[in-house]
Subunit: 384 residues, 2 copies
């Protein structure tokens, strides 16, 4: 059977160039970068090359990039670290639509006594910036607001949010796991203090990520142990993973400069127009809002998204009903709920996300297979 | 130039069988295991297979194995989790020779108000069990004592330590990063509650590890976010890494059953006898103590270990002066200091560690190259 992947916001295939770069570090150049000998130092050189590649993608200096095991660890390190730097300034401002790695960490800190404010979004998924502005005060340690939403693709005004945070002396962190490599990010121009990256969302390997920490911020570590990463992140460096993240960052930078966003946006427009014109009573969420070029969420009124996903899967098409990190729960997505969707709408949403390897032909296939599935399910649905 | 690797306790080469097993999950079967579709479920099956492979190696049930990014994360999760389960029982008992991932975590918890007792060792590296016994009391949440020391290879009496902990109602954790796959470990027979594993120490990939958590222990997570790993460890599962860890565990189990320990012990004896008979004023640490079969530390009185390592490296031989996680510091090893070595001795220690791929011929090469280096350095050393 044909396999067509429309779930790139959950994870992406490792690029062949990335895998090629990683391979020698598994079984040929396999030293511990912290070791004294040449096996070790060859690995450390590879790690430092990757650090520069990641720094270049986001406009940082290499020494501001710290390697982690992924986006979740980066977010946990940023939030827990920043909240604990100064006991007299221990509050957080986040949004209600953050990824669980930020939201659950904020809730944990709240249970431990940190004041947390959860800013809302409107029905288009846009952040209520005024709410953020009035919530940030002298007690705010960190404003953590994502660069792009993983479910709807909606972009937040990072530059403006950094200004609001800094106006009150707070730090600004952004979970840019979905944004990095898909839209331009420049930590210097945008005045970002902390930024989370995940390798496997941009054709790098699972198990690798990075946290940008602006020079001068003395963030305490999440994990204690060896003195790797200047003491911010203990544990043997994952050399192949880091090398892969570096190469993935380099490729993403090239793609961006070559206009990948435009190509993805065209695919997205085709999919959206195709769906709307063939599936009645369907709407695209946040369609009027600035979004990631590779992401759309469609709501198929009156049909359970699980039924659509099952039938799509039988046709070899992988899509999702929202964040993979929330799979297994039957609650409607917290993102859609925050946008004011009722349970019926929330339970009939399908996220379609794609990447540089997605072809026009795969889009054709999706647009051919989806409408009859929706029609069939409408016929049997008691709500339709 | 020839490359001969004698630093297996720092990291090991990924086994070819392990790499082969990992490969499909990078760019062919690349789903997020938490996803609903068949791309995701194929990955979840691979993860569950690996969970069973790891469980089998240590005598656990699969649902007691939780995947992490490595030994450091497993240790941090165990110590911070156990110390915070019950405010009325928040003390720790560790040893002075634990790996930094345990020792620095214990020190961090001590700074946060947790009582910590550091048990000593004798000049042979053996744990002062009586000290442990009198330190454990009703306030002890966790006794964390390693299965095997990473620098000297000395084994601790895990069974006895578990009994002491349980006698006072405390949990018993062991950092078994160096022990698993090299000696027999059975969490059930040895009555272990929590146990840390690292993949890259047993021919698996960097960036993957596991924490065994005995059924019924409700350990709080170190990282918050998605509901992966029953909520104990948020973050997208590192599928290739986990698959690699599983295969590495399976291979290590086979090797153990086929008598790998005996073969390694014979190599160790050859190296030790070779060194002692050719390098005067040299001693093998903890030579009278039960140790890992693949590890030895030799002290070359009056010579700086860095000088030896540099000259060995010029001959293509990688060895180390102790833990790679401590490289970059000029302090003598905390392990050797705890054993009563003075700074001179501590600074002239070389750890030689090896693995299943080490050949008799490589040992010949080491024993041929090392004595003239020691002799040469003795001639120029002001202390000799």
């Amino acid at each position: 059977m044909r396999h067509v992947y429309f779930d790139s916001n959950a994870t992406t295939r490792v690029a062949p160039e990335v895998l090629e770069e990683m391979m020698p570090y598994f079984d040929r150049s396999y030293g511990n970068p912290s070791s004294f000998h040449s096996f070790g130092s060859a690995c450390m050189e590879a790690v430092e090359k990757a650090r520069k590649q990641v720094a270049d993608l986001i406009g940082a200096a290499p020494e501001e990039v710290f390697f982690t095991s992924g986006g979740t660890e980066s977010d946990n390190t940023a939030l827990k670290g920043a909240a604990r730097m100064d006991p007299s300034r221990n509050g957080l401002v986040v949004s209600a639509v953050e990824h669980p790695a930020v939201l659950e960490t904020a809730r944990y800190l709240e249970r431990r006594g940190h004041p947390v404010f959860y800013a809302g979004v409107d029905s288009e998924g846009s952040l209520n910036v005024r709410e953020v502005s009035s919530a940030v005060d002298e007690g705010t340690a960190l404003v953590s607001l994502m660069a792009a939403n993983n479910e709807t693709g909606v972009l937040f005004p990072v530059d403006e949010l950094a200004k609001i945070a800094h106006g009150m002396g707070a730090l600004y962190h952004t979970d840019a796991v979905q944004a990095v490599g898909k839209i331009e990010i420049d930590v210097r121009k945008q005045d970002i203090d902390l930024l989370s990256i995940s390798a496997h969302k941009l054709h790098g390997p699972m198990g690798a990520g990075a946290l940008f920490v602006r020079r001068g911020i003395d963030l305490p570590p999440l994990m204690h142990g060896g003195h790797q990463e200047e003491g911010l992140r203990a544990g043997t460096l994952n050399v192949p993973g880091i090398v892969g993240l570096g190469k993935a960052a380099e490729l993403a930078g090239e793609e961006l400069r070559e206009g990948s966003a435009e190509r993805l946006r065209n695919l997205r427009n085709r999919i959206e127009e195709g769906i709307i014109s063939t599936c009645p009573e369907t709407l695209i969420l946040a369609s009027e809002t600035e979004r990631l070029p590779n992401t759309l969420t469609a709501v198929f009124g009156g049909i359970e998204s699980e039924a659509i996903l099952t039938l799509l899967d039988m046709k070899g098409i992988s899509a999702s009903s929202g964040s993979a990190c929330s799979t297994g729960t039957t609650d409607p997505s917290h993102v859609l709920t925050a946008m004011g969707c009722d349970a019926n709408m929330g339970n009939s949403a399908i996220r379609i996300s794609f990447d540089r390897y997605t072809t026009e032909e795969e889009v054709d296939y999706l647009l051919e297979q989806l409408p009859p599935i929706v029609e069939k399910l409408r016929d049997v649905s008691p709500y339709a």
